[in-house]
């Protein structure tokens, strides 16, 4: 439990850095912090494989891409951080309501929840693969198309630029 609280607080701290820091490099590093804590939470919640994949893909690849763009554009810390004041207040209210609604929803009891012990091998590579290549085969194949489109799109856009 203590572990969870520490991790949760670090995750929220990282998220706040992302949103509030003027320097985009710090924002990206705050994002890494949060992503890493989310990975730890995955490990706490019986998803060790996902925890590692989260680190490999998010921290190892996606945030590196963010950092690359920030550095390649030589982005300076922003002088005007925020949107106009009314928009900021509206955003705060909206986010507060959203968070409250989600938190409230999470206390609603679940049908079929907590039925004692988890199935053996829950969260293991075998069980994940069985689900991925069994019941969810079509989405899996479609992700390859999605990734293909992403690659082609990126190349086309980059050429338009030069």
């Amino acid at each position: 439990m203590i572990a969870f609280w520490v991790v949760a607080l670090l995750a929220i701290a990282g998220a706040l850095v992302v949103v509030l820091h003027r320097n985009p490099v710090y924002s990206a590093l705050g994002l890494v912090l949060t992503l890493f804590q989310v990975a730890v939470i995955f490990a706490l919640l019986e998803a060790p494989l996902l925890a590692l994949l989260q680190v490999i893909v998010y921290a190892g690849a996606i945030v590196v891409l963010f950092l690359f763009v920030i550095m390649l554009l030589a982005l300076e810390p922003e002088k005007r951080l925020a949107a106009p004041f009314p928009v900021a207040v509206a955003g705060l209210v909206l986010a507060g309501l959203l968070g409250f609604a989600l938190a409230a929803a999470s206390t609603v009891p679940l049908a079929g929840a907590g039925q004692g012990a988890l199935p053996a091998g829950f969260g293991s590579p075998e069980s994940l693969a069985a689900s991925l290549f069994g019941a969810h085969l079509l989405p899996f194949e479609l992700t390859s198309v999605l990734l293909l489109v992403a690659v082609v799109g990126a190349v086309v856009l980059a050429r338009r630029r030069s």
Binding site: A59, V64, L67
Partner: protein
Amino acid sequence: MEVFFSLAKVVVAFVIILQLTLILLWVERKGSALIQDRVGANRANLFGGLLPFNLGIVNTWMADPLKLFHKEDIVPADADRFLHWLAPFVGIVPLFLTFAVIPFGDVLKVGGFTIDLVAAPIPASVLFVLAMASLAVYGVVIGGWASNSRWAFLGGVRGTAQMISYELALGLAIVSVVLTYGSLDLQAIARAQGALMWGVVPAWGVFYQPVALVLLFIAGMAESKRAPFDLPEAESELVAGFFTEYSGSKQSVFMMADFVEVAIVAALVTTLFFGGWQVPWLGREGFHFPGGLDIALPSLVVTLLQIGSFLLKLFIFCWVQILVRWSLPRMRYDHLMAFGWKRLLPIGLVNLVVTAVFVLAFEGWTVR
């Protein structure tokens, strides 16, 4: 008691890597001197040079770190002080941490306990190694940026692009091995290599996956950013690349990170392709030679032999990397990127498919 053993393993794994890096630093100096027909580091002495002989390894083991720690810590005027500090820190912690999941022996039996000789026996430790390797990029990219120097920045960007390019080949090589042994656990892979092919040859990964071995070795050396892949820190072009603006102990941490990476590559090669801690024909009760000759050994002796075998193999592959570094000239950057993307990546994919066909077509091809 259990907790004590766990902590002891953690400390042992850490001490292995820490000492190995310091020893490697000395081996590299003496080795490069040997290759270049020089004497190499020979000046460390005690009591103001009163000893009649120099202290050899003490040069880099004690004297060098102490000297570097007493240097001034210079941070350039326009640098981001926090990130300048953070870069070496995040550069080395994941690398150190990698060794927590590398098995350095089979089991140790003491007083009724059977201890798995890996500091943190987490599931999917192969992926843990890759995750830590992918985090090591941050030291380079932050270090290059935080210094606010153009050359350091160029070195950092080059280094990052190089590391991520070769990470793919590294990943594909490792997937092939995972496919061969059907496990994501380094200790399980090491144990599987204790079996024998045709009752004679140890079932080491090198016999199943020679192509993956080459891929992993090349990609791993590119990850460690040493010659012939040392473009991020090419002295004649970029001063010292991403850590140009570092001095004193921060700079020594970056240098150390290089050697830790060398050790990690050696540990991966050892564990995935050369049986890890396995000694050929040595089981938990002693030797079982193919001719039918059995030699029973006490469990402790077996364990010590295995740990010794692991360290020996580790050291050999570190030495090979040092030899390569001092033998080959630096690559050109376009060649480097083309090599990673147009050669290693397709070869890795083909190797993967061939492995998959073998695994399915020949049931008894691999030991499980």
